[in-house]
Point group: C2
Chain length 321, copies 2
């Protein structure tokens, strides 16, 4: 269903990119825009506007702004995480350099706001929602960076972090789209809550998939998070529950140069199973998915339209990529 929206987004992003000045600092932006992406957040803004007005295009500027804001955060996150690859291509800080990545990210952040400043849909309410979200996304990234240095993280703190870093922008997209489509404040907030909880559930799902992939989850390498000792919901639950000895063992396994990647993942997985961390993660995932469905149910939309959103949610949570 989102495929149609994605087509609109891709077309508008191309137009946006083609109209950028020829100054060289715009090159990395043309590059990242042309490198694709699921256009998930921006598609949701169009869907939300569509749900309430049958005119998805009303929210096009805000959708594009949200997509570009997401890309700005990717540019800077890749510097901070020293990630060399983004969407199967060199990250901007690798293809150019760190300074160009910092500055082109800043420029993109400014362009996002310039786009919003020119939108005929703009209002103080929309402005506030978006800027509040932008602040929260930065806070989320800061918590993510801090957590990488901590030994123990409470699950609630982890949930708070992924909500700020990821889910609020999903929720913001939906709320802005809904308001632009003419939704009541109440419905817009319900859609925000739907997005926040679905986004949270999805992020937990993503953590799980890395270690326990779907049967037909071919293509993606399993256990990337384990190898990087990434603080996923599985790993933080393990760190909370495991004996010091087992924590030490897991650390040694990951650092062991004699072991293949597959061996490491398989061994660490045994420890995860020993402490039943999968169950905790699945319970959390279900809890937030359930919450999102409650919000969806309370929306004053036709059952048909709710069904469309629910189908999309199911599809999202079963994603194989």
């Amino acid at each position: 269903m989102l495929v149609e929206y994605k087509k609109i987004i891709d077309k508008e992003l191309k137009k946006f990119s083609d109209e950028l000045p020829s100054l060289s600092i715009y090159e990395p932006l043309k590059y990242i825009i042309s490198n694709g992406g699921k256009r998930f957040r921006s598609s949701l803004a169009l869907m939300a506007a569509d749900l309430f007005s049958n005119k998805p295009y009303l929210a096009i500027n805000e959708a594009i702004a949200i997509e570009l804001f997401h890309n700005f955060t990717l540019i800077h996150d890749d510097i901070m995480d020293q990630a060399p690859i983004r969407r199967n291509l060199p990250a901007i800080h690798k293809k150019w350099d760190e300074n160009i990545a910092i500055l082109s990210g800043d420029l993109l952040h400014a362009l996002v706001n310039q786009l919003l400043s020119k939108s005929s849909s703009q209002s103080p309410t929309l402005h506030q929602i978006f800027q509040q979200t932008a602040v929260e996304v930065c806070e989320g990234q800061s918590l993510d960076m801090e957590f990488e240095k901590l030994e123990i993280i409470a699950k609630t703190d982890y949930i708070n972090m992924i909500q700020l870093k990821t889910a609020v922008l999903v929720a913001c997209s939906l709320k802005m789209g809904a308001l632009i489509g003419g939704a009541s404040e109440k419905d817009a907030q319900l859609l925000y809550d739907f997005g926040l909880n679905l986004g949270t559930s999805f992020q937990i799902h993503d953590d799980i998939l890395d270690v326990f992939p779907n049967e037909d989850n071919f293509g993606k390498q399993v256990g990337g998070d384990i190898i990087e000792k990434k603080k996923t919901i599985l790993y933080i639950d393990f760190l909370t529950k495991a004996s010091n000895e087992d924590k030490k063992l897991v650390n040694q396994i990951i650092d062991d140069k004699q072991l293949s990647r597959e061996q490491k993942v398989s061994k660490v997985k045994e420890f995860f199973l020993k402490y039943d961390v999968l169950k905790v993660a699945l319970d959390s995932k279900d809890e937030f998915y359930h919450k999102s469905m409650v919000s969806l149910g309370n929306l004053s939309l036709s059952e048909n339209k709710k069904k469309v959103v629910e189908d999309f949610s199911v599809q999202l949570m079963n994603r194989k990529y």
Copy 2:
């Protein structure tokens, strides 16, 4: 005259800082806000509002936003320039690290927009002026970085760069303050032009002061730009006019480890005088100053008020710091 406005700004910035959350990513922001600064740009926003309404405080949110935006650019510029010191204290990327500097800068940029989104003075026009300026400032920084790698830069390109990097934010402050104070579009634009040209003149003045300080310019070390081979208006004019031999000589002088700093500056200065670069710089400075005074003269303000702005301009151009 700006002293009174600066007091207001300092007080409001302190309040803003005190109300920031306790999350650790806010620490660098509290640090940079408390480290002072001339509060030049923000004071101009208050002055402009004052000129047209006698109520400087009307533009307080926009003034604070502009000051904080300026500080955001300083945080990131210091990373890109690898500048260890800012306002006599360690720059954020040194006191913390580069990642914290990138992210706290991004957060500050988002907070600026959040502040604007909550301002009761907001309007699509103000929004557009500010965001257009934010884009231009990033473009200016990109040109500055590019120019450092070039051998020859045309004076007009240099002027364009300093206008984007520095003068547009000064002009934007004045225009936003004027509009908030109730100025006509024509007067607001005249004040913008005044600021753009005064800012340009001031930046050229700053280049000159580094090599040819005022008689009573004690305290600041002379020739810092020369030692860093910074592409000032003097240096680019020298590079345009000088023989290859003289260019080589100047380069050797600056790199010569046998020479003291004072010797280097004194020797390079001789070459600058040989090619009469001071005159070109002074002519440019005067040209833009004159333009700013023409815009000032055309404003529909009382002669008294114009006199106040002119006095401030004279004071600015005679600054000893």
